[in-house]
Symmetry: C2
Subunit: 233 residues, 2 copies
């Protein structure tokens, strides 16, 4: 999924009637804003920062955004909608629950790799949104959560029937989201390799646990010692 497809995936009524050049510029603004927010946090990013980074006047920004929070909402709305759309497409494809889980993990991580800054702003700045905007984004997140819960429940109970998720199924889902979302804190492609490999390891841990590895240990380290530190900076 390209950057442009994020933009075209979800459009507000105002955007739909806008000229292509306007949409293109809006994309550029949101992308740069995402980079700044990912770097310093939404509260610490200033509109002056953004204007300077875009070689644009401060007042000019307000032609595209009603206010600072509206900027964050637009960024979160289109990014999360694109992620959810991608993952729902993946989940609709046939396969065993285990296969689906693996594809969903890989899909999420690939989206992360392609849109690191945007997804980070979505993942960590939900609480910076005010009431109405908050609820809109929360509903998208909830749909994603329910989708993954459903798959995880099927992994445990088998694909037959539509068993309701138990409390422990929901907890397991939250654990999985923790693994996925924490990746912002440590992942560095040059140190940890491609995200597809991370996805395989994560899926293995979730499905079989650590003890499963013990029985298959030995000669597993293809690229030894490329990642020493646990956190980049």
């Amino acid at each position: 999924m390209t950057v442009a497809s994020i933009a075209s995936a979800t459009l507000t009524p105002r955007e739909r009637h806008a000229r292509p050049s306007t949409r293109k510029k809006l994309d550029r603004l949101l992308m740069k804003a995402a980079a700044l927010i990912a770097d310093k946090g939404f509260a610490a990013m200033t509109m002056r920062d953004l204007g300077a980074a875009l070689d644009m006047s401060l007042a000019g920004l307000y032609h595209y955004f009603a206010n600072k929070e509206d900027l964050l909402f637009q960024l979160q709305y289109r990014t999360f909608s694109a992620l959810l759309g991608q993952q729902e497409t993946i989940a609709a494809q046939p396969g065993t629950p285990e296969e689906q889980l693996g594809r969903l993990l890989t899909g999420h991580l690939q989206f992360f790799a392609r849109h690191t800054h945007e997804l980070k702003a979505c993942t960590f700045e939900l609480e910076s949104l005010g009431g109405a905007h908050y609820r809109v984004i929360e509903e998208i997140r909830r749909r994603y959560y329910r989708m993954l819960t459903s798959v995880i429940t099927q992994v445990i109970r088998g694909p037959t029937g539509a068993a309701r998720a138990t409390r422990q199924d929901r907890h397991a889902t939250l654990f999985v989201f923790g693994m996925l979302n924490w990746i912002f804190m440590w992942y560095d492609r040059t140190r940890h390799g491609p995200v597809e490999q991370i996805g395989v390891e994560m899926c293995d841990l979730i499905l079989h646990g650590l003890e499963h590895r013990r029985r298959h240990a030995g000669g597993r380290e293809a690229h030894p010692r490329l990642d020493d530190a646990y956190q980049r900076r």
Copy 2:
């Protein structure tokens, strides 16, 4: 571990010669600051907020802190030192690697339950610290990471010998930290039950994975449907 023991666990030279009443007040300040930071983020918390929450003048705060960032550093330093101290004590006790992992997870979650606000400020505001302070806290975190990596490596390789952690061991450790740290985003005692139960479920997932549950499924839900939403607010 009580709140007071967090304070006495690690003292700066200035604190060591301070009167007990001073230390007590400093505790109160840091605790309230942690609550505000956990709620709105460090950048959004203002010194005026903190003064008002403590019924204290703005200028009065600067008798205890050189500046705003020094406040964050003191909070992170003593909180993280207390957590690391507790976890190192736990890790020093005998037992199989599996038992040690379980005890460490429970210990971390219990610390989280007792010091939610402080630990949240530590977990999510590392990047708000400047160079020198950043490195001090980073080193504490690194020690914690290495300790858990060692245990996880032993779970996979068995307790004999001191095998160096492979790349995949380190990745698994980062996954585990993700599960642990993401709990700030969803946990609510009234919805999800005591943290000890969460610890057991987390340990089960890490050790045996989801498929292990399939074989033991049935009649597992003691307290059904107490947690519907995935996120509180």
